[in-house]
Amino acid sequence: MKRLLSVALGILTAIGGFVDIGDIVANTETGARFGMSLAWVVVVGVVGICLFAEMAGRVATVSGRAVFDLVRERLGARLALVNLLASFFITFLTLAAEIGGVALAIELATSVNYLLFVPVVAVAVWLVIWRVKFDLMENVFGLLGLALVVTAVALWRLHPDWGGLLGGAVHPAVPQGEGHPSWWYFAIALLGAAMTPYEVFFFSSGAVEEGWSRADLITNRLNVYIGFPLGGLLSLALMAGATLFLEPRGIEPGHLSQAALPTMLALGKLGLAVLLLGFFAATFGAALETGLSCGYSIAQYFGFQWGKFVRPADAPRFHLVAMVAVAAGALLVLTTLDPITVTEYSIVLSAAALPLTYLPILVVANDPDYMGDKVNSRFTNALGTVYLLLLGVVAVATIPLMVLTKAGS
């Protein structure tokens, strides 16, 4: 019974923790402009992140080594440094976007300008990283993030034309008035939002933080294979809400409040309150994860002690990096750079950085010296190869498309 409860907790935490500001922005903007025609990208992205998160978690569990440690070992110092700089920069951008997202969620609730909350949020994020135990942190914010289920409830209450929604999803077509380059650019953004690099760093480091052993491998798989797809459904609920409300009115969401419109209209003030709680938990949780991931990636590349499972005094440079990253992220938001814009860039660049991150994971997951008998199956390898090729194409196409579409405008 206790085992069942802990598995359920893990799955629920995975669902609630799946969505972050990138998913909120990407799905809402895509729904408003392209309806459900890009829903298939969310499916592709969810399958991809399930595949590589399970692999990264398995590698960390069996070998005791987290992703970036192995990236350097397999790519060599130079290539891994390029990878580190790109991944760190993107994770840092994402961190800034999440901090901005938390502040925006609070602004929606209080009608006080979000900039005033940024320093408070930064300090709160750092305090949690400094003091709160890892699994407590994950569980609290994961479970609170489940409040986002209200988006699905709102959708249900609105009695939408399910056939129309499904039809738009299953027969993808570029809507009238939109160009193909923009469509593909948003596809890349959606993919990047679902498959951000920091998720695998965090997931694999988290496996070591929580001391997973081989007995936990099944739990790992359940969390990933059940939790992530259900989390992906929440993303699709956001996309559907935007399709129903924003697209017909031609509203292009540039503000977080617009993502809340469908829920507010369907469920009133109570629904809005629950949604804001969900936004807050999702973005705060993601701020914690990206802050820690900044620390994980730098520490694991250079080899110094990392983790919340040791005293801060025993991992000083790790905590220093995390602290500086959070402070710098807050400063970036305080320059009044629009957090939504920062989010948009971070998810697109995420998509471009994925191949170099995933290749070492795929390779090490096949190494019997590390994995023993837990190496990849043929199916996993085949799917992994397909994704690597796909991500390679995406990586090459990203910058040209960004220039061509003027970043999706």
Partner: protein, 113 residues
């Protein structure tokens, strides 16, 4: 001297022809005893190849499984390895190592463990 002084250096024979670049250095543990470690690691020779190798993915070991495409790519990259025993090294300059004899009569490296 550092290991990285050897890695990536161009290997040149007596006639001035290049045998490629140093990809790796083979060590054998049969030197004098060193503290708690045991016998010291002694340089046995250089593994040299023409293609630029950026990654050490691990496919040199026969036990390594893996996605087929990656295995093939890695195999192609390592296909041209040659071995220079240390006693053929004549001089070491920055980025260049001079060896005795001809670049053409270098054996293949014996399969690693």
């Amino acid at each position: 001297m550092r290991l990285t002084d050897l890695l990536g250096a161009e290997v040149v024979d007596q006639a001035g022809r290049s045998a490629g670049k140093v990809h790796d250095v083979r060590l054998v543990q049969d030197g004098p005893l060193v503290g708690g470690f045991g016998a010291a690691l002694r340089v046995d020779g250089l593994i040299v190849g023409r293609r630029a190798v950026g990654a050490r993915l691990g496919y040199e070991r026969r036990t390594m499984g893996g996605p087929l495409l990656v295995k093939l790519a890695a195999g192609w990259l390592r296909h041209d390895g040659r071995y220079v025993a240390w006693d053929r090294v004549r001089a070491i300059e920055p980025d260049r190592i001079h060896i005795s004899g001809s670049a053409d009569d270098l054996p293949r490296p014996a399969a690693p463990q």
